[in-house]
């Protein structure tokens, strides 16, 4: 493959990935409103199209036409920079996530992934750790007490839970022996006894899986860990002073991060895109993507389910849970996993 074709194929993949990701983000908001509504015995959006199917488009239009207000007391450069940082980092991590095996289109043979890099997992961790600045700077530059408290809570929470999150992944890395997400998926291929898939979840990493899920909920500031935007005490937390499209950028960043976390959970613990493949060649090349999307959808659904069910933690409970429970548990998981691998 020549350099020209390579760049062309990459650009096409970037365009498709962005389009799919942003559509997924838009429709997750609809899914969330519908599911939470049904949990609470309501109907949810039902006016715009059948089942409210065009509601995300209406919301998007509304955000664009709202007045873009910049309060006079803010630190303007950082106030403008914060939503850009939040959304850019949230969209960047999708670049290294593989959504299926290699595909062949005519003479072009390409992986279903924008960039297949050998430190994929580390890149995602690095990009998300830089994403904290979006929230922290938004809180500080808004020059308002609610934003400030929200920003402080968010940065403390994200830094604390990042440690538990990173340590929970070590067990998976020990099994795969590689940071490449594609290698991690390949290391989970095959089955025991013909029907139990060799997913990391079933290889004894279920403790790590639950640590990862809980830390990831805290990283994405979702209920029950949504202290940074606890509306009963902080109005809207770090994005209180933002309006119109700038507010929408924080919103999109949060949902894009949820999608990334769901993709990563499927890749690391649930075997990525593994599943039965059958039928004609075109179906065979698309079925893995479908299995992958199914897992991601399940994770998004659980996110919403949890939101509709659980109350919010208190701040001291949140910190104690992260440092005194998740972190020791993650370290214990590393010790046990490496002992098992070493003695095998």
């Amino acid at each position: 493959m020549g350099i020209g074709t390579y760049i062309l194929v990459s650009l096409v993949k970037i365009a498709i990935a962005l389009l799919v990701l942003l559509t997924a983000v838009a429709y997750t908001t609809l899914l969330e409103r519908k599911v939470v509504a049904h949990i609470q015995n309501r109907w949810g959006p039902s006016r715009v199209g059948p089942f409210g199917i065009w509601q995300p488009l209406a919301d998007g239009l509304k955000f664009i036409f709202k007045e873009d207000l910049t309060p006079p007391y803010v630190n303007k450069p950082l106030y403008l920079l914060a939503p850009v940082v939040a959304l850019t980092t949230a969209l960047t991590s999708i670049a290294v996530i593989p959504i299926g095996p290699w595909i062949k289109l005519g003479s072009i043979n390409t992986p279903l992934q924008i960039a297949d890099v050998n430190i994929g997992l580390l890149i995602i961790l690095g990009v998300t750790s830089v994403g904290v600045y979006g929230v922290a700077l938004a809180g500080w530059s808004s020059n308002s007490k609610y934003s400030m408290l929200g920003g402080l809570r968010a940065s403390a929470q994200m830094v604390s839970y990042e440690i538990a999150l990173g340590l929970s992944l070590i067990g998976v890395l020990i099994f795969a022996g590689s940071f490449s997400l594609r290698d991690i998926v390949d290391s989970q291929a095959g089955t025991w006894l013909g029907f139990i898939p060799k997913w990391n979840l079933f290889k004894g990493q279920f403790v790590a899986f639950f640590i990862y899920i809980m830390a990831a909920y805290a990283e994405t500031n979702r209920i029950p860990f949504d202290l940074p935007e606890a509306e009963t005490e902080l109005v809207a937390g770090y994005h209180t002073e933002y309006s119109s499209m700038k507010f929408a950028m924080f919103f999109m960043a949060e949902y894009a991060n949820m999608v990334t976390v769901a993709c990563l959970a499927s890749i690391l613990f649930l075997g990525g895109w593994s599943g039965p493949v059958f039928g004609p060649p075109i179906v065979q090349s698309l079925l893995p993507v479908f299995w992958f999307a199914l897992r991601v959808f399940a994770f998004m659904f659980i996110y919403i389910w949890v939101r509709g069910t659980l109350p919010r933690f208190r701040y001291d409970q949140l910190m104690a849970f992260g440092w005194k429970f998740l972190l020791p548990l993650a370290i214990a998981n590393i010790v046990v996993t490496s002992l098992v691998v070493a003695l095998k």
Partner: protein, 173 residues
């Protein structure tokens, strides 16, 4: 050719960020400049073929250490810094350029003596025949086999520092 061009771009970004760090009057702007410095350093590591070190540089320094810096600045609500009135004129004008020239000469001499100037920019350097320099396996082998004792001693040192910080920060009962 391309790695060299990229090297100069990121090196310029790095030095620019460092100068901006000193020039800026508000601590939060200085902290953000330091993040730019950390980020461009990570990209330079990447050009040297040390992708693991580059990722760790971003995760640890740009992502964790600097977040704590920003956090402290936000928490203390540190204002614009004040300047002293009677600074030495000679030091202001000649201080930084003099330091840069002196340090560059020192680095050039030392690297020549040690033969380090022959490490090529771009592409992995092969070490010990089999290990590719800078990949996770090679770093793991160096840290946990060849240099295990220094590594453990450093860990102990950091643990002592953490415990010291906790003792100092704890409120008197």
């Amino acid at each position: 050719m391309l790695p060299l061009v990229l090297f100069f771009i990121f090196a310029a970004l790095c030095v620019g960020g460092a100068i901006n760090l000193l020039v800026q009057k508000h601590p939060i702007n200085s902290a953000l400049s330091l993040i730019v410095v950390m980020g461009s350093l990570a990209l330079i590591y990447l050009l040297l073929g040390a992708e693991f070190v580059a990722a760790v540089q971003v995760i640890v320094y740009a992502g964790a250490v600097m977040v704590l810096f920003v956090f402290v600045i936000m928490l203390l609500n540190a204002g614009v810094e004040e300047r002293t009135e009677h600074a030495s004129r000679v030091a202001t004008v000649l201080g930084v350029p003099g330091l840069i020239i002196g340090l560059s000469i020192a680095v050039w001499v030392v690297s020549h003596l040690a033969g380090l100037d022959r490490i090529a920019i771009g592409g992995p350097t092969v070490m010990n025949g089999s290990d590719v320099f800078g990949n996770p396996q090679a770093i793991g082998r160096l840290l946990f086999r060849d240099f295990l004792l220094p590594f453990e001693v450093t860990s102990l040192l950091i643990l002592i520092a953490i415990m010291g910080a906790v003792v100092l920060a704890r409120r008197e009962e």
